[in-house]
């Protein structure tokens, strides 16, 4: 895996891909207001691999849903490719989704168990405007996408997603992204439900895919070690706020915020006793 390790790139001057100003989301349950995401500012550049790191409940997933347009923000503005994001109608939303796609945390619940794998992949081809392509061409495209993630389409066709293993499902998810070729990929803890061996393969494929189609990847994780390993820049999130952000080396090697320091010290190290005092 080390051969494919991403070379960290400085993309601070690349054009902005997704930018947010004071993005906020509150949830109201009776009189209690939960500030899931509280006035965060961010700027993701084209081609960058950004990690958003935080513990459970820090608002990562809420933020990702807002970025995807699945959840309305309470306050703040999001800019897509420099222009204010307009998702006011279904057609515009559909247009937006052709530019941003996601991989979810739990592969077992990401697929509709009543649809065959073919349906999932055909949907992607249709979305890219390939609805009227001849059947052979569609099969060729699906085969290509599957072989990119080391799956054999001939074995998968006419099967249901629940017949696959978790790792296979998550790879199928990547195959879906391969077909869709979005500008931004939002990966919400794509490896947290996968065993360690498959995890490396999946990350490897994600990075390969990024290099191949040059998309921006927003990687959401609780694993700061993993984030350091793959990211160009890192945002540290605590209680709905970004407490620290910047290039990966800067954030990890020279952390400023106490929360970042705690996160880094919480990473278990094989050759040292684990410091539990900060937990």
């Amino acid at each position: 895996m080390s051969e494919t390790k991403a070379i960290r790139r400085d993309l601070a001057n690349a054009p902005s891909c997704l930018r947010g100003e004071g993005v906020t989301r509150y949830f109201h349950t009776g009189k209690i207001t939960t500030k899931a995401v509280d006035h965060v500012n961010f700027d993701f550049h084209e081609g960058e691999l950004v990690s958003i790191v935080g513990e459970s409940g820090s608002g990562k997933t809420t933020l990702s849903k807002m970025l995807l347009g699945l959840l309305k923000e309470t306050d703040g503005k999001i800019y897509f490719q420099g222009k204010p994001r307009d998702i006011s109608s279904r057609a515009k939303l559909k247009e937006y989704w052709s530019g941003i796609q996601a991989i979810f945390q739990d592969p077992f619940s990401s697929f509709n168990t009543f649809n065959k794998i073919d349906t999932v992949l055909l949907d992607c081809i249709n979305m890219r405007g390939g609805k009227n392509l001849p059947k052979e061409k569609k099969i060729e495209m699906m085969t290509e996408a599957c072989s990119f993630v080391n799956l054999k389409f001939a074995e998968l066709t006419n099967k249901y997603p629940f017949e696959l293993s978790g790792g296979q499902m998550q790879r199928l998810m990547i195959a879906r992204i391969f077909l869709l070729k979005p500008k931004i990929l939002l990966a919400d803890e794509p490896t947290s439900m996968i065993d360690a061996c498959s995890r490396a393969t999946i990350l490897d494929m994600l990075l390969q895919l990024r290099d191949e189609i040059g998309m921006t990847v927003i990687f959401i994780t609780h694993d700061i070690g993993l984030a350091y390993y793959i990211s160009d820049s890192i945002y540290i999130m605590e209680h709905g706020k970004f407490v620290e952000s910047g290039p990966a080396d800067e954030v990890i090697l020279n952390p400023q915020a106490p929360y970042t320091k705690r996160l880094i010290s919480d990473v278990p190290k094989i050759h040292e006793p684990w410091d539990l005092s900060t937990v």
Binding site: K65, L68, L70, W97, Q105, S110, N112, C124, M127
Partner: protein, 415 residues
């Protein structure tokens, strides 16, 4: 799908319910083939003929006879003729005249008659007994003597001069073979107040009631399902409006609403289908509420989000990503709606607000007729008890199927 079906049929509860229901359905289809004709045809002139085999007397008299000498024939004849009231009256006579009746069993015809023949004297006037009562005892005594005497029944016809001419005679030892009598009618459940064959009517009524239940269940489930899906998935103002309407319907007692609507439609317009529609239109609320809550828990799942990201339309997401996940629940709700639809029809008809009475019988109408002609007070159990049993069986089988399905689809309920 195949696996699910196998699992469903492995549930003993579902299987028992299913077998009962299928048996009722099969009876509905097969019985009219065996016994065709209009179920509302009034074959009897009197009301409430008892269940049993009816032999045409006319045809029996014309049928060739066989002579059988049966020793207990007279006793049986007497036993049949002496009603319970007669027996009690005989005991009253004994006690009024001071006869020792120690250890006498009034169902023992021989002992009773022996005592009667030994002690009855028409000349005795027991103290306090009215003339009418004494005349009754005289008639009773005459009847007992007549049965004992070797009599024949003479069949006569008016001859040329208007005088009766003997055509033939029937002796007590004449028997006919029932198989040779031209007209024998078996009425397993007798006739009702209009002289209609209850069994034939019941089979037809069960069919109509099940159709009403199915139609009402279908209407209720369709309305409840579509409103529930819409309100649960779309949410927001749409949810508020639909829940407002649902709450209004929930607050007004459904049955009162049902009575008012049925009443306002009027007897003439109230066919079976209209009644089914009215029942369906007033009972969709709880399906709507429960579908809505199921959809709310489903709409934020990842597979729905993925479907949204794939650009699917609202309609398609509801149809392919939500509906299949709640399908098993909807089927169960439908079964319960059918069951409650049948019961609602019975309740309405019992109040006289059911379908019009001239076209088809329903289970509720049969109960209504039995009640109006006081079958329950005059002991004509066959006019209402089989109806109650049928309603119970149908609703029991449907509920059993529902419980069985529940156990298959809700693993936490499995024991």
């Amino acid at each position: 799908m195949k696996n699910t079906l196998r699992q469903v049929f492995h549930s003993s509860k579902f299987l028992v319910g299913f077998i009962i229901f299928v048996a009722i359905l099969l009876t509905m289809f097969i019985y009219p083939l065996i016994n065709p004709g209009n179920p509302l045809e009034m074959i009897g002139v009197g009301t409430f003929a008892r269940p049993g085999t009816y032999v045409s007397l006319y045809d029996a008299a014309k049928t060739p006879t066989e002579t059988l000498r049966l020793a207990d024939a007279d006793d049986k004849r007497l036993a049949k003729q002496l009603s319970d009231e007669d027996r009690v009256a005989m005991v009253e006579w004994f006690s009024a005249t001071g006869v020792d009746i120690e250890g006498l069993d009034i169902s023992d015809t021989d002992a009773l008659l022996e005592l009667w023949r030994a002690n009855y004297d028409p000349a005795v006037k027991p103290k306090g007994m009215t003339q009418a009562k004494r005349n009754y005892y005289k008639r009773l005594d005459a009847a007992i003597k007549e049965v004992g005497a070797a009599d024949t029944l003479i069949i006569a016809d008016t001859g040329e001069g208007g005088a009766l001419e003997k055509q033939g005679a029937i002796t007590k030892t004449d028997y006919v073979n029932v198989g040779q009598v031209a007209n024998v009618k078996i009425l397993p459940l007798g006739t009702d107040n209009f002289g209609r064959d209850v069994l034939k009517e019941l089979v037809s009524a069960a069919g109509t009631s099940i159709v009403i239940g199915l139609l009402a269940g279908l209407v209720a489930t369709l309305i409840g399902l579509s409103l529930g899906l819409l309100s649960g998935y779309v949410g927001g103002i749409c949810d508020d409006i639909i829940m407002f309407i649902t709450n209004i319907f929930t607050v007004i007692p459904g049955f009162v609403l049902l009575i008012l609507i049925s009443y306002s439609i009027g007897q003439e317009q109230r066919g079976a289908a209209v009644v089914a529609l009215v029942i369906g239109l007033t009972s969709w609320t709880w399906t709507c509420r429960s579908v809505r809550s199921q959809v709310i828990s489903l709409r934020n799942r990842d597979h729905v989000n993925l479907s949204k990201l794939s650009g699917h339309s609202l309609f398609r997401i509801i149809l392919t990503d939500i509906l299949p996940y709640i399908a098993s629940y909807v089927v169960m709700a439908f079964i319960l709606q059918v069951s409650s639809g049948i019961l609602a029809e019975a309740q309405l008809s019992l109040l006289g607000l059911g379908p019009k009475t001239t076209e088809v019988p329903t289970l509720g109408l049969m109960m209504n007729w039995a009640m109006l002609y006081s079958a329950h007070t005059n002991g004509s159990w066959w006019a209402y008890f089989p109806v109650i049993l049928t309603i119970t069986l149908i609703s029991f089988s449907l509920n059993l199927m529902n419980t069985g399905l529940d156990q298959v689809f809700n693993p936490t309920l499995r024991d």
